[in-house]
């Protein structure tokens, strides 16, 4: 079992004909992911060629609109590789087309656009992971995004993180210790995004096949503090964490748009203290994420 995506998940990729979209769609298909449609305006009727897990050629139909793609193929999830200024529109299109889960990978979407998207999501059942994220992977079943598939191992550790490569580092450590992952979710590094830590922790808490959770946070905002409060009240499974940015100076944006300490708020020290107070074991260094989680089992 897993959360969000599995071997049966049918996916439409928006921006499948672009350079990032086509490269990563091919990687996902080769991993075994069921990408059943592509959507790019003015490219309807084209076929997107790729090779599946067994090396067999597949042709993915491309549609002008997501609505058509959903209607013709039954796709329920959209993964978005559309450039920043068009990405919010692409997300809205996926929501309107009836997708249950939307995963915008795009980095650099203006925050005002995401505020509008969030408003659109209010009161709906549609889930969004990202933007500015690596995506979601359920090992051996469905890789949806830009993460390297081969470092993952099927198992029962849920992973959730605001950072891409730091997730790979954590997953790499877990796999090396023989600890496989149920699902790994990259929630992204933007100040306004979709699912937050609590949304993901809830899913893992309810997933019978997730035994423990590894979460990676970073400076900026208060999502980790909110998660800590939620964990203290609700979480039935052990949680290990790491918070990046102990050495980050205040007032500077550290790569991610959301990774900034402003007005003395959002420091790593505050987040670590909140998590520890909630019973979460925080890794003292990023090299000890895997071993910290293992110590809880």
């Amino acid at each position: 079992m897993s959360v969000l995506v599995n071997k049966d998940t049918k996916i439409v990729v928006q921006g499948i004909t672009g350079s990032a979209g086509s490269f990563h769609s091919r990687q996902c298909i080769a991993y075994g992911t069921q990408i059943v449609a592509g959507a790019t305006p003015n490219r309807g009727g084209q076929k997107f060629e790729a090779e599946d897990k067994s090396g067999k050629k597949v042709e993915v139909p491309v549609f002008n609109t997501v609505a058509e793609a959903v209607k013709e193929t039954g796709a329920t999830v959209s993964c978005i590789f559309v450039p920043p200024l068009g990405a919010a529109d692409a997300i809205l299109e996926a929501i309107d087309a009836g997708c249950e889960l939307v995963i915008p990978i795009t980095e650099g979407i203006p925050v005002m656009d995401m505020i509008r998207v969030r408003r659109k999501l209010e009161g709906s059942n549609v889930r969004m992971v990202g933007p500015n994220c690596p995506g979601v992977i359920t090992p051996d079943e469905c890789k949806l995004g830009i993460m390297p598939g081969h470092i993952h191992l099927k198992g029962d550790i849920g992973v959730v993180s605001r950072s891409g490569t730091l997730t790979y580092e954590a997953v790499g450590q877990l796999t090396a210790l023989g600890l496989g992952q149920s699902t790994a979710i990259g929630i992204g590094g933007d100040p306004v995004g979709g699912m937050d830590f609590i949304d993901c922790l809830k899913l893992f808490n309810d997933d019978p096949d997730t035994r423990a959770v590894m979460m990676m946070g970073e400076i900026g905002g208060s999502a980790e503090e909110s998660a800590a409060a939620w964990i203290k009240e609700n979480m039935k499974k052990p949680v290990a964490a790491f918070i990046a940015g102990t050495t980050a100076p205040p007032g500077k944006r550290m790569g991610h748009a959301g990774a900034i300490i402003s007005g003395g708020k959002g420091t790593a020290a505050d987040k670590i203290a909140a998590l520890e107070a909630a019973g979460v074991k925080v890794a003292p260094s990023p090299a000890e994420m895997g071993t910290t989680l293992k110590s809880l089992l």
């Binding site: 990032a20 990563h24 920043p84 200024l85 650099g108 979407i109 203006p110 925050v111 005002m112 995401m114 505020i115 509008r116 969030r118 408003r119 690596p134 830009i146 993460m147 390297p148 470092i151 993180s161 605001r162 950072s163 891409g164 490569t165 730091l166 790979y168 580092e169 790499g172 590094g189 100040p191 306004v192 970073e218 400076i219 900026g220 905002g221 208060s222 909110s226 990046a244 940015g245 102990t246 050495t247 980050a248 100076p249 007032g251 500077k252 944006r253 550290m254 790569g255 991610h256 748009a257 959301g258 990774a259 007005g263 003395g264 790593a268 003292p284 260094s285 990023p286 090299a287 000890e288």
Partner: protein, 397 residues
Amino acid sequence: MKIHEYQGKQVFAKYGIPIPKGIPAFSVDEASAAAKKLIDETKNDVVVVKAQIHAGGRGKGGGVKVAKGLDAAKETAGKIFGMQLVTHQTGPEGQKVQRLYIEQGLDIKRELYLGLVVDRATRRIAVMASTEGGVEIEKVAEETPEKILTEFVDPLIGLGAYQARKLAYGLNIGEGTPEPKKTVKQFVKILMSLAELFEKEDCSLCEVNPLVVTGAGDVVALDSKINFDSNAEPRHPNWKELQDKAEEDPVEIEAKAAGLSYVSLDGSIGCLVNGAGLAMSTMDIIKYYGGEPANFLDVGGGATKEQVTKAFKMILSSDKVKGIFVNIFGGIMKCDVIAEGVVAATKELGLKVPLVVRLAGTNVDEGKKILKDSGLKIEPADSMADGAKKIVELAKA
């Protein structure tokens, strides 16, 4: 992206927000001429000389002074222009004042605070108002949070006039003014314009501290602080003209132009990493093992060999760097591309400090081979911890 007070006020003016009369000046002579013009126009010999730097806390640092009469204005401008202005936001070295703003003096009765920010918890624009104007709002938030009133903007509807009125009455803005109704009306109009401006101009922060009420009961934006959301830069071509490169770290500007994300730090160990989270973690682990990072550098997910070369050169050309740690977990980023860039930069500039390289993920074997075949003195590392320990040791030697 930050802009100066006088530029922010030009944006305010565009949206009909009342500001005092003022003229920017790029020399003491220009400042003097500006003061003369203002005194003549307003028939009031009080002007304010304001240092234009991006950091806050200018008044406390001695960068904002009231002058009475033209001679005093010129003398004050002479003192402030060119000074190293130190505020709680500049760091101890301060920031050189190269621009001034000369503004008419006003009859100020009350100083208030207005601030609009993106609230991450509610995912909306938060409009904050406080009676504690003219001071550090962080301090107010810390010590007397009840003095900050907040309303949230529905992105589909915009700020409601009723919300602005709620804040107006909450601040008791009409109190003691000749015509309270007029003052409330002006305040509401300003707030509505600010909310519109924030959205249309893609701000990430917009502060008026202080917003003042004059003796005549008029509401005026005495200060402005606007930060733009850098992600929205492509749809605002005019931002280029607003940029003041003298206010930014030249290395950070260079990095940005090359599509890299770089922040200078005070330590001695240079880092080159892919991904923001891993880059921060690499700084953290260097510190954990007793070293100090010299920079944050994220080459991103899809860097080319040229970008990596550029990034590595930036680290190599810094005098403070006593050792370099390259930490890569290749996902989209391929290890061989990193290796090629490192080798190319080193061949061009030479390598005078120890270099530790940790490669993992996509094309790791190809990357390791390129480094090995280069004949460069590179210390390989098996893991993040191994690499961090090694570079801290080597940089000490």
